[in-house]
Symmetry: C2
Subunit: 165 residues, 2 copies
DNA sequence: GTCGATTGTCTTGACGTCGAGATAGGTTGG
DNA sequence: CCAACCTATCTCGACGTCAAGACAATCGAC
């Protein structure tokens, strides 16, 4: 089946036949798909009264394992936002009672953000919801195709994730 | 090579061994890669004094071919933003002299947005810059792998692009 | 024709993010 | 022990986006 990127590439080949636009076949699809996923996720999380950014922070803490705490700095690197943004997010989550700020006992500059019991429950519930939705989206592909796709994407993301950029 | 999503998935398998988190292998990589691409593009466009959103609008018009004009509504569907956002973008581009607003002769509710000569030049220059950067990112993959990846992604994007969602 | 629904664009207010800089604690070498 | 530098977090102002709704023009059914 044709998608928007097919149309986009065809248009470029017509308007700029001198250029090789093959890279767009991959990377424009990545960007557009991500955009669609954002919207879909927003809907899925709304059922659990969570915003996508809240999910990102709560699940980062949940994945850390007991006692479910990380520093703001560790949360930054996992969620790819700036420090000002993270301060703001922690404030709002704390106000909702989903996380709490604790002083870092080993570094008085530092802070530890810890998931509350309610925060943990919300993280678990919304993860289950997200996985159900994503499974539906991925039903387009066979298991083998999903594996291939994951492997190819890994090759592209690895340089970004390993060389700090 | 390992990436952040490998670490993320491993963490979930440790914390929630009861859940099947395979969907994340694909879709979390898509979202994270898109995030990295946004940052990289921002840098590439900065050399041409353009923001990513400006590029999106200018190139949509450029792709339309002479006389390089589209309605705001057509621009909406191509760029996946809301109408309020598009109004704002057109305002700013018009102020910079890269586009102009014309009344639609066939529908008095409507407007046509047309690229100026300078807008067209800037679109062409920045497209060349973007393609160079994207080629570098995709050098991780062989030509055949890029083709596979594009095809797999198309299967996921097609439903979003064809069933209005 | 005319009324109601629809379409296309713009307006508005709230919100989240960014980037730069401030603050304070920590670290290292002399 | 001090000075210079580094690190962790927070503060602040500017900005872009969104969602909802306003408004005007158009279309369709009767």
């Amino acid at each position: 089946m044709e998608d928007e990127v097919d149309r986009l590439v065809a248009a470029w080949r017509r308007e700029r036949p001198d250029l090789d636009v093959e890279p767009l076949e991959v990377l424009s699809r990545v960007s557009r798909l991500a955009r669609h996923l954002d919207r879909a996720r927003r809907l899925a999380f709304a059922e659990h009264q969570l915003e996508p950014w809240e999910f990102d922070v709560l699940t980062a803490l949940r994945r850390a394992g007991t006692p479910y705490q990380l520093s703001p700095g560790q949360l930054l690197t996992q969620t790819l936002v700036t420090s000002g943004t993270m301060t703001n997010r922690i404030d709002r989550l704390a106000k909702k009672g989903l996380v709490e700020r604790l002083p870092d006992p080993s570094d008085r500059r530092g802070v530890l953000v810890r998931l509350t019991d309610e925060g943990r429950d919300r993280a678990d519930q919304s993860l289950a919801g997200l996985l159900a939705q994503e499974r539906a989206i991925l039903a387009e592909l066979s298991r083998a195709q999903r594996g291939e796709l994951a492997a190819l994407l890994r090759q592209l993301t690895a340089p970004f994730d390993n060389i700090p950029g």
